[in-house]
């Protein structure tokens, strides 16, 4: 039996006396799309940042493809090359053109030739209708365009796992669609993804499994229809009621 792509056990993270992750367990199988939902501060972003080793855990273990990546003897740079993360605020490099944003890691980290990396970057840009933006600087792009570039920047490194941290939260409503379409296409291609989101409709559509995070743990999880439709936990129901009241479902 092959191990899950991602396996988290007993994750604990404390920020200045506040427990953000409190013994969290999570497994993600190959080609699976897992949506993390939950109130602000429930630990969604922290979980993703811990998986990417951008934050150091206080306790617990994370395995990627069966490899223990939270072992202090493991080089985090080598681990990060095997996964990608996309941030809420895009985090493109403002001093580099779109093309150079995308090819930086392939050329400098993965040792690929610039010509080959650029060809691939242009092809991916063309696929999402951004071929004419290759030479532009990020500040000339709309939020939706920047976020699609950020996703491509993560994708060119052929990650085993793609982490998406509220990638549509900073976007104007009419720009959300173009980013979600891209994620939908990635699912169709079989990309393994963990996404933190406030878009319940999208979670329902694209996720194989929805996890409701509360108090630093996965309080409830299951198929989207079940967690979003007939939640068993009162906390989940409360959360979904608030979301409905805000008109987001």
């Amino acid at each position: 039996m092959t191990p899950p792509v991602l396996s988290c056990r007993g994750l604990r993270k404390v920020y200045g006396g506040q427990v953000v992750l409190d013994g969290l367990d999570l497994d993600v199988a190959e080609h699976e799309v897992v949506a993390l939902i939950g109130a602000s501060g429930s630990g969604k972003s922290t979980l993703l940042r811990c998986v990417n080793l951008l934050e150091e855990l206080d306790d617990g273990t994370i395995h990627l493809d069966g490899d223990h990546i939270t072992d202090p003897r493991v080089d985090p740079d080598r681990v990060r090359r095997r996964m990608g993360i996309v941030f809420q605020a895009y985090n493109l490099f403002p001093h580099l053109r779109v093309l150079d944003n995308i090819t930086l890691a392939p050329v400098r980290v993965h040792g690929r030739s610039r010509a080959e990396a650029e060809a691939q970057a242009r092809e991916l840009l063309a696929r999402v209708g951004l071929a004419d933006k290759a030479e532009a600087y990020p500040d000339r792009l709309s939020g939706g365009q920047q976020q699609r570039v950020a996703i491509i920047r993560a994708l060119v490194n052929s990650p085993r796992l793609l982490l998406l941290d509220e990638v549509t939260s900073a976007l104007d409503p009419e720009l959300v669609g173009e980013v979600l379409t891209m994620i939908r296409d990635l699912k169709a291609e079989g990309m393994t993804m963990v996404l933190a989101t406030h878009e319940m409709g999208f979670a329902r559509e694209v996720a194989d499994r929805v996890c409701f995070l509360d108090g630093g743990r996965v309080l409830e999880q299951g198929p989207p229809e079940q967690v979003l439709g007939e939640p068993t936990q009162p906390r989940t129901r409360q959360f979904l009621h608030r979301i409905i009241a805000a008109g987001r479902l």
Binding site: R49, D77, F87, F93, P94, L104, V109, D139, A154, N157
Partner: protein, 280 residues
């Protein structure tokens, strides 16, 4: 078919009003400048000692005679400036980068870099110059470089301290999310600094850096304390020969002329940076 936009009467009236206002402000500015200038000229030339001052500070003959010597001195300033500016920028960049290193392994390096910036920003330049140009040769070590080089080293050390702090401010102004993005792509700390942090930091601090270079331009002349003749020293010698202060004015004018291109570049860089930021 797109029709040409016909401005409404209200838009035309607004434009006309703005034009009238512009003309009015230009006239007011011209008038006030004229009045102030006249007052200044009257006050200075009408002063009881004006004739004496004009003779001892603005003598055309003395100026002409002193110009070659002062200009030769300025050539030394210019060469020293280029050498010291490059040196101080290099020292500053390296020290600033060392100060950002994390982890206990780098403690000595970090402490050394921090101690350096504290010491050399606190020490008066003149004292450092004396130590290097008079103290170091006094050791009579074999291979001691000439006084000019020692003076340049002193200038580089002092200005390197200031410039390191400017670079460090630039490095720290790069948002942590940029580091997170770079590291998440698998870039090492060094690659992150080289390709992501430093390019943004240097661009952001270019205006204050050039400002330090303009200040350095005036301070390189202090090596004359140890013997070499720079523009100010040349003017001093000429003054001592003629008992006329005009050579100082000549040197001052030359310094300003030399500073204009640097200051212009500073302004241009600042403007460009502001435009880029605004577009973000």
């Amino acid at each position: 078919m797109r029709t040409v936009h016909q401005p409404s009467p209200i838009a035309l009236e607004r434009a006309a009003y703005r034009r009238r206002q512009t003309v009015r402000s230009v006239l007011i500015a011209a008038a006030s400048t004229g009045v102030l200038g006249t007052l200044l000229v009257v006050a200075v030339t009408g002063a009881p000692g004006w004739q004496r001052v004009r003779q001892s500070f603005l003598d055309a003959g003395v100026a002409r005679a002193a110009l070659p010597e002062v200009a030769a001195g300025l050539w030394l300033n210019l060469r020293l400036l280029v050498f010291c500016a490059l040196g101080a920028l290099a020292v500053g960049l390296v020290v600033a980068t060392l100060r950002t290193l994390r982890g206990p392994v780098f403690f000595p390096v970090r402490a050394l870099a921090t101690g350096y910036t504290y010491t050399f920003r606190g020490l008066p330049l003149i004292i450092v110059l004396y130590v290097f140009t008079l103290g170091v040769p006094g050791l009579r070590l074999r291979g001691t470089p000439p006084v000019l080089v020692l003076g340049a080293i002193a200038l580089i050390l002092v200005y390197g301290g200031y410039i390191a702090e400017v670079f460090r401010a630039g490095i720290e102004s790069v948002h942590p999310s940029q580091l997170a993005a770079a590291r998440s792509l698998g870039l090492t700390y060094r690659q992150t600094m080289r390709f992501v942090v430093l390019p943004q930091a240097v661009r952001r601090v270019a205006p204050p850096l050039l400002n330090d270079i303009v200040a350095l331009q005036k301070d390189v002349g202090l090596v004359s304390l140890a013997g070499p003749i720079d523009a100010v020293r040349a003017a001093q010698i000429a003054t001592a020969e003629t008992f006329n202060y005009t050579p100082y004015i000549v040197a001052g004018v030359l310094f300003v002329l030399l500073a204009i291109p640097l200051v212009a570049v500073t302004d241009w860089v600042t403007l460009r940076a502001a435009r880029r930021q605004a577009a973000r």
